[in-house]
């Protein structure tokens, strides 16, 4: 029996002695400062809606990374959770007049449930099959998004009201909306950071690196994988819900497989299995789309080429390469 099945994703061979560890800590601190500083100050320098979009996708990518980077499972159907939650939140806000935060929670709950079903089915097969199955299941979700009466089919759910936070703060004010999104992002990011650095996270990493061994140590790996899947789906849902409030829109684009591909690109580009990588990756991809939109559909070519370059030349991603270059364990 072949037991060397640990995935080679994010294979670091950099040495990290004690010196590397201190350096790693310093660098992490730098990243934290940069991140929080950026989140707080960005709307003064950049178009706030653009930054909100960035943050939503960054959260989405981080949630996705929880699965691929820290559990070693490539889901090719994460758009289902992102888009699905967007629809649920949109509907709750539009039709039932639910306030924003309960709306987001509803979306997240939906994604969690959906994640449970998809995850339970998909973990029956491994590796490449896992990817194909998640893709196909996401396609079913897409079908429902297209067919169910409340989703508005190809029109999408339009004009979702942003509403008032705690009945007080008007989210139609751009800056209010912005800081709400920033808060959601930071909370989500912290949750992910905590999951990675929890006892549970340790087991996930063990499973990623050597599943049979983890199994022989008495860990019910399928259960852990499923929980990780559900967590990832839930947070992806939070990102989707928030985005639907920002743009007042839930549409098929959010649930389309190309979205699943984009989130993979963001994560890969930033660095699979790194903490800050997906944020950086999301920034690069969203900014690329934004600034390249002038050249129209060439965007897709550029995105595709980035994908190829990433896979061929720097599989560790921007942050992963940086970590290796600075010889620190993880960022």
């Amino acid at each position: 029996m072949n037991v060397t099945t640990h995935s080679e994703i994010a294979e670091f061979d950099a040495l990290s002695g004690p010196a590397g560890q201190t350096r790693g800590r310093v660098l992490q601190a730098v990243f934290w400062v940069l991140l929080i500083g950026f989140v707080l100050l960005a709307p003064t320098m950049l178009y706030p809606v653009f930054v909100m979009q960035l943050l939503c996708f960054a959260l989405f990518a981080c949630a996705f990374n929880l699965l691929i980077g820290f559990t070693g499972l490539l889901s090719f159907g994460h758009a289902a959770f992102f888009g699905g939650a967007a629809y649920i939140t949109g509907h709750a806000l539009t039709a039932w007049g639910v306030p924003p935060i309960p709306g987001i929670l509803l979306g997240a709950a939906f994604s969690a449930a959906l994640g449970y079903v998809v995850g339970a089915l998909a973990i029956r097969r491994q590796g490449i099959y896992f990817a194909m199955i998640t893709l196909a299941l996401a396609q079913i979700v897409y079908f429902f998004a297209l067919q169910l009466p409340f989703t508005g089919g190809e029109n999408g759910l339009q004009g979702i009201p942003r509403g008032h936070l705690f009945g007080l703060i008007d989210l139609n004010q751009t800056l209010n909306m912005y800081y709400f999104v920033a808060a959601v992002f930071l909370v989500g990011f912290l949750i992910i950071y905590r999951i990675i650095h929890s006892p549970f996270g340790q087991v996930l990493q063990a499973i990623r690196e050597n599943e049979p061994r983890a199994l022989s140590l008495g860990y019910n790996t399928d259960r852990y994988k499923l929980i990780a899947f559900v967590l990832s789906a839930t947070l992806a849902g939070v990102a989707g819900s928030t985005k639907s409030i920002v743009f007042q829109f839930a549409s098929l684009t959010d649930a389309h497989w190309q979205m699943s591909g984009e989130v993979i690109l963001m994560t890969l580009l930033g660095g699979l299995g790194t903490i800050f990588g997906p944020v950086v990756g999301a920034f690069i991809v969203v900014a690329l789309q934004q600034f390249l939109s002038a050249i129209g559909s060439w965007v897709q070519v550029v995105i595709g080429a980035t994908f190829i370059a990433c896979v061929l030349l720097f599989r560790r991603g921007v942050v992963g390469e940086l970590a290796r270059w600075l010889k620190v364990g993880s960022l």
Partner: protein
């Protein structure tokens, strides 16, 4: 009558019609080291996989301390004290040696599903983890990542991790494979040391190691038990000589 910790009854598995293990009846006495030898492809690893539920047997039963465990899941087996090592070194390469061992200890705390807690809660285990590493001579390497350890040390780490689960029954698949001579010696000593108070089943090609360690030897050939007994008995067995060494009867007499 000896105390039997593990027993198999007519254990059998076929892969697409190919019987890799046929009618294997093992009785492992508590507190002994039991070696399984046999030519490549005899089914040794497969027997291990059956015992630890990585494969489901096509027929037969497995009894552990008298309980039928045939239908248990791999994780359950491990939780009841049967832990295995692997033919190829099985560590978590990007975790430090200490974290490797700690993963085995961690289950005891019952926090493994706690994704909302900081892993600082695990630090209470650090001391014990280091002690375990010390047992196998890896104390000084506690903070190196496993991928950075030389091969022999990885095997030692694997054994330390396995031990940390305090298994009643340890299964070691070719613990000395791919090691230099010095390492073989130290691992042999290590196994002898840790065998106190527990039962070990091991697969090993290196007969030097087997003869030094094993109380009982089972010889497998083509999925079947060919002979069983202490080293002196098995090594005189005619069938074993032929099947395993290819020395025919006349030659042995000559």
């Amino acid at each position: 009558m000896t105390d039997i910790i593990l027993e198999t009854r007519d254990l059998q598995i076929s892969f697409g019609g190919f019987l890799a293990v046929k009618n294997v009846n093992l009785k492992i006495a508590r507190g002994t080291i039991h070696a399984i030898i046999g030519p490549n492809g005899a089914g040794k690893t497969t027997v291990f996989n059956l015992l630890t539920k990585f494969h489901a047997p096509t027929a037969g039963r497995i009894l552990f301390n008298g309980t039928d465990i045939t239908s248990w899941k791999p994780a359950e087996i491990a939780n009841h004290g049967i832990v295995r090592s692997f033919q190829i070194s099985a560590v978590f390469p990007h975790l430090t040696a200490m974290e490797n061992v700690r993963l085995a200890l961690q289950r005891r705390l019952g926090v493994s599903y706690h994704f909302w807690r900081s892993k600082k809660v695990l630090e209470s285990l650090d001391q014990e983890a280091v002690a375990r590493l010390d047992q196998v001579g890896l104390k000084d390497f506690a903070h190196l990542r496993a991928v950075e350890l030389p091969y022999g040390r990885k095997r030692a780490l694997e054994i330390a991790t396995t031990l940390a689960l305090e298994p009643e029954l340890m299964l070691l698949d070719e613990p000395t494979q791919g090691m230099g001579t010095e390492d073989v010696g130290s691992v042999t000593d290590l196994i002898r040391k840790v065998s106190k108070g527990r039962t070990i089943i091991m697969v090993e090609h290196n007969l030097g190691v087997v003869s030094k360690l094993a109380d009982t030897i089972t010889v497998l050939n083509r999925g079947e038990v060919l002979a069983e007994g202490p080293y002196e008995v098995v090594s005189k067995n005619q069938a074993v000589m032929e099947a395993y060494m290819g020395v025919s009867a006349e030659e042995a007499e000559a």
